[in-house]
């Protein structure tokens, strides 16, 4: 009986639960014993010229080693040329040229929190004191806040560019697609700016010694981080070692290495003293990359019998002050725009505008939640317009199970799926008919607490950068243990458990004898890392393939040892024993075979590049209760199918679904990163940024569905972001559904009590 597919608790946990993880700020290694502390001086204004920086008072403060500004950065290579919009989700995509982002601010600041100077002190406490003494003169400029001011380009963030519109794809001419649609509905919707808020903020330590730079950084991609560091600092990658210790959450915001971390690494090289930095939560909310921030003009057209014929989405992406990955995310939104539906005509396009806010980058879902939120709102609006049950409208339009692989007008080819089954499972699991009956009863009675039932059917793209592949190296040692080196880079996902399961399943070496190593470029120079929900389907497959290669090598060695032919050798996976078929006396352990391999070792290295993007899918159903006197929303139930193919370890998969759902619900009901009209962040602490807690959530109801991928031997797609993608629109649709009988057809997120109340109040006045 293979261990694959069974519930296995994590090997990571005993350490995490007893002595805690070792995150960057926990490192107590000899190399960092004399490390100085970095404290950033950040812009308190959203848009201004820097007319002077006076560091003299700070330099005199207690414990100050140095105060550095851009004028000290004379040892850096020139900025890279315009990189355009090529590349994958796997690396930040700065637009170069006019739109370049410096390390320390040069002559201008473009968002509150932008780094302007660094104060280096012997200890942490002194840093904040000294940073207050750095005096920066700002000449304020008009702040550009929000989509419209970005588009209007009256105040320019990059005057030489002549506009704040950094990218514009153009839109198909409106009209043609919707001719022949008896029913057409339009709406403007906003997918609001969010802060990722991993519990561990950004943190980095760096040391330059003997011509080598060692950087410990809270990252999702040690290898990519190394290349970015090399480019930014003008170093040969071979002279850089990047180590990702335990990482306290990433969610896409820790892809590669961040600008602020590059500054710290530079400071270590520049001063010759080891440096460390761990941001405060306020810094994190202000200056770690944000997520989402798209505005959509959506238009959906079809027939009164429920058939959707056309869909159009025009996107404005607020990329914040610098078009990093924000310049690319709407491409993914357009790719997935039509969702799980068979829609004949789909028109998409986008503009990317820079604004005086923190840069936008990947955040759990990275462009796909936006696509799903838009089409799911559109479907509900269409359903309301024709007076049809939204479940029924979905059923009529979902791509049927016999149509896969299915290529959409947006250019995505969905590999495998059974979308109708997912919908039916969720409707049955939730007891849809009874929910509608309860809703009807409450409406009839005019209850204060009204019930809302919201659906979202989704499909999403994982391993969008599959062509980058993933690497693995497996070594079996002469004591019978094994080490699996992986290019994947877990930050909570449980890869060590999953990869050990794969080795045990293939080789019969028990999990507790398998060590998994990741995140150290000295030990694993090749690798892409963990984002885009790519790890199991690429990194896990690479580990499995390495195990298969090791098995083949071992077969040859064992045949040699036993003087038998390879064809007669078999591996008893249950016991991890090699033997000649039918001759138990000939058993060889892994330890013996590995020892026999001698200096060459029993090892295999795989770079798996045969993967392709895969398309998990599902349906979410959210039941909410709305207090129509106050607008307060309570999420009562949340039922899901999230089908990401064959499940390796249900424990891990469920955990990813739970976490994703919580973040999705949080976007729908609570969270928003808000700037005032002058570009000052209003939600700059966790008191004001409404991060969801346990008290706001129910337990979730997860249903099982496994429609295997066919592209890889594990049948695996990626589960990491699916929960988030499905949850947000289900909850939004649910709340709007709860008050739709009052004539309300749309409410933008987050559906805070004030927002919901405003909609109710307006609707009641309108009557």
């Amino acid at each position: 009986m293979s261990i694959l597919g069974t519930r296995v608790v994590r090997t990571e946990d005993p350490r995490l639960l007893t002595v805690g993880g070792t995150y960057v700020d926990d490192l107590r290694v000899p190399e960092l014993e004399q490390a100085a502390r970095v404290t950033f001086v950040r812009s308190p204004v959203a848009h201004a010229l820097i007319t002077g920086i006076d560091t003299s008072a700070a330099e005199e403060a207690e414990g100050v080693v140095a105060v550095l500004t851009v004028s000290d950065m004379d040892d850096l290579p020139p900025p890279p040329p315009d990189s355009g919009l090529t590349g994958t989700e796997g690396a930040p995509l700065p637009l170069g040229g006019h739109w370049s982002e410096p390390l320390l601010a040069v002559d201008k600041v473009r968002f509150v929190g932008e780094p302007v100077a660094i104060v280096i002190t012997d200890d942490r406490y002194q840093g904040e004191d000294a940073a207050e003494l750095v005096s920066v003169d700002y000449q304020p400029l008009d702040a550009v806040v929000g989509f419209d001011e970005g588009l209007a380009s009256e105040s320019l963030l990059f005057p030489p560019a002549g506009s704040n519109i950094a990218v514009s794809t153009g839109m198909p001419t409106e009209g043609a697609a919707f001719e022949g649609c008896e029913v057409v509905v339009e709406e403007m919707i906003t997918n609001q700016r969010l802060a990722p808020v991993p519990l561990e903020g950004r943190a980095v330590a760096a040391r330059w010694a003997d011509g080598k730079l060692t950087v410990w950084v809270s990252t999702q991609n040690a290898q990519i981080a190394r290349f970015i560091l090399a480019g930014a600092l003008g170093l040969d990658p071979a002279s850089i070692r990047v180590v990702a210790p335990d990482v306290g959450g990433g969610f896409g915001a820790k892809v590669g290495v961040d600008r602020d971390a590059l500054i710290v690494a530079w400071a270590a090289k520049h001063t010759g003293r080891a440096m460390r930095w761990a941001e405060t939560r306020s810094e994190n909310l202000l200056s770690m990359t944000h997520g989402r921030a798209q505005r959509h003009r959506i238009k959906i057209g079809g027939r009164p019998d429920g058939r959707i014929l056309a869909y159009r989405i025009e996107i404005v992406q607020d990329s914040g002050a610098y078009a990093r990955m924000g310049g690319f995310l709407p491409f993914l939104t357009c790719l997935m725009a039509s969702g799980p539906y068979d829609i004949g005509q789909v028109e998409t396009g986008y503009q990317v505008v820079v604004t005086n806010a923190a840069p936008i980058s990947a955040y759990r879902g990275a462009g796909r939640p936006e696509a799903t939120a838009a089409i799911e709102r559109a479907v509900d609006l269409f359903a309301a317009e024709i007076g049809m049950d939204p479940a029924e409208v979905r059923r009529i339009n979902l791509i049927p199970a016999d149509k896969f692989p299915f290529t959409t007008p947006c250019g995505a080819t969905y590999d495998t799926g059974d979308y109708v089954s997912a919908l039916d499972k969720v409707l049955a699991g939730a007891g849809y008919a009874e929910l509608r009956a309860e809703q009807a009863r409450r409406r009839e009675r005019g209850d204060v607490l009204q019930l809302g039932i919201g659906l979202a059917s989704y499909v999403e793209i994982t391993a969008a950068d599959a062509d980058g592949g993933e690497a693995a190296r497996l070594v079996v040692h002469d004591d019978g243990t094994a080490t699996a080196y992986t290019g994947s880079s877990a930050h909570g996902q449980g890869h060590h458990t999953a990869w050990a399961m794969l080795v045990e399943a293939e080789l019969g070496i028990p999990m507790d004898k398998v060590t998994v190593i990741h995140g150290d470029t000295d030990l694993m120079p090749a690798g892409v890392g963990t984002h885009a929900s790519r790890s199991l389907q690429l990194g896990g497959v690479a580990v499995q393939k390495a195990a298969v290669e090791v098995k083949d090598q071992a077969r040859r060695l064992a045949a040699d040892m036993l003087e038998a032919s390879e064809a007669d050798l078999e591996l008893d996976v249950e016991r991890g024993i090699w033997q000649v078929r039918g001759d138990p006396a000939t058993s060889m352990t892994w330890a013996q075979v590995a020892a026999y391999a001698g200096d060459a070792g029993l090892t295999a290295e795989v770079n798996y590049t045969d993967g392709k993007p895969t398309f998990p899918f599902g349906t979410h159903l959210a039941v909410t209760e709305v207090d129509t006197e106050t607008g307060k929303v309570r999420l009562v139930r949340h039922v899901t199918v999230d089908d990401a193919g064959t499940v390796l370890n249900p424990v891990l998969t469920e955990g990813q679904r739970h976490g994703g759902i919580a973040q999705g619900v949080a976007q729908a009901l609570l969270e928003e990163m808000v700037y005032d009209p002058e570009g000052n962040p209003v939600t700059s602490t966790l008191v004001d940024y409404a991060f969801v807690s346990a008290a706001e959530l129910p337990s979730f109801e997860l249903l099982v569905s496994e429609t295997p991928a066919t592209i890889n031997p594990l049948g695996a797609k990626g589960i990491g972001e699916a929960g988030t993608i499905g949850a947000t629109p289900a909850v939004q649709n649910s709340v709007i559904d709860a008050v739709s009988h009052l004539g309300i057809r749309h409410i933008d997120m987050p559906l805070t009590p004030a927002r919901v109340w405003a909609a109710i109040s307006e609707a009641r006045q309108g009557r």
């Binding site: 942490r124 406490y125 904040e128 004191d129 207050e132 405060t280 939560r281 306020s282 006197e629 106050t630 307060k632 609570l670 808000v674 209003v682 939600t683 602490t685 008191v687 004001d688 409404a690 969801v692 807690s693 008290a695 706001e696 805070t752 009590p753 004030a754 109340w757 405003a758 109040s761």
Partner: protein, 272 residues
């Protein structure tokens, strides 16, 4: 994230605390549970040069029942108030409200004295004190004085405490009516109230409807004339000056006040 430097002093008695305050600069602060003050200091919104820790003064940590009132030491924590059998029996409004402040960790440290002296208009206990007609005992260099709760809260983070004075005891009269209710409306369980209502008998007090806690005097007048919750709540917002902020425009707060006062009066009525 780190407070500006300060000098820490510890007092073992109220008199010693007052002496230490007299010896320190004017900006010296008493440190009770620290859960109003230390967060401000960490954000450097407050930077007293001296903190006088009164956390070990045993005299301030008692809840005692006397004739007609309960005396609560200023250093009694929210958690102790929430679990107090004496208060659950005699002043359930206070026990209930204290049990809903922040989260358990905050309640283990935060004190009633600290909360009242801090006088955040979004805090729950100041309004509860108004609803209970509590008396606050203050000790200064010239001895003890008593301040009615209605005279204690003067403005935003401003109280009747003079520099160097220490709030020592809160005296809560045992309510005549068994009717009480505490309504706390917020986005998340851990949040400050967007609007809160404390009702004890016909006393109605409001949280976060102005720069201080307020009695809903218009509502109380209507109640006194014999009207029911619905009518009385209709002008709950009269005389208030609620803020507009991230969570609520002013008009929404006024609306919430009316709804919550009605609900509070209905609930109080069901208990009376």
């Amino acid at each position: 994230m780190i407070p500006a430097p300060f000098t820490y002093r510890r007092a073992s008695s109220v008199d010693e605390a007052l002496d230490l305050a007299a010896q320190s600069d004017e900006d010296a602060k008493f440190l009770a549970g620290g859960h109003s003050l230390v967060p401000l200091m960490k954000l450097r919104l407050a930077a007293p040069s001296t903190l006088i820790d009164i956390g070990r003064i045993g005299d301030l940590s008692h809840i005692s029942e006397a004739d007609g009132h309960i005396a609560i030491g200023a250093m009694v924590t929210h958690d102790q108030i929430a679990r107090s059998r004496v208060l659950a029996a005699s002043v359930p409004l206070l026990a209930d409200a204290a049990g809903r402040i922040g989260d358990p960790q905050v309640r283990h440290c935060g004190t009633i004295g600290g909360s009242l002296a801090h006088a955040d208009p979004a805090a729950d206990l100041p309004a509860v004190m108004l609803a209970l007609d509590a008396t606050l005992v203050v000790r200064g260099s010239s001895g003890d004085r008593e301040v009615m709760a209605s005279d204690f809260f003067l403005g935003l983070f401003e109280t009747a405490l003079a520099p160097g004075e220490l709030l020592t005891v809160i005296r809560v009269p045992k309510p005549a009516s068994a009717g009480w209710s505490f309504q706390k409306f917020s986005k998340r369980g851990i949040d400050w109230a967007i609007v809160g209502v404390a009702v004890q008998g016909n006393n109605v007090a409001l949280v976060n409807m102005g720069s201080t806690p307020l009695r809903a005097t218009a509502t109380e007048r209507v109640l006194a004339s014999g009207s029911g919750p619905h009518e009385a709540a209709a002008n709950a917002a009269e005389g208030t000056n609620p803020p507009t902020d991230l969570n609520a425009p002013r008009t929404y707060r006024e609306h919430l006040a009316r709804v919550l006062v009605r609900r509070a009066l209905e609930e109080a009525g069901s208990r009376a």
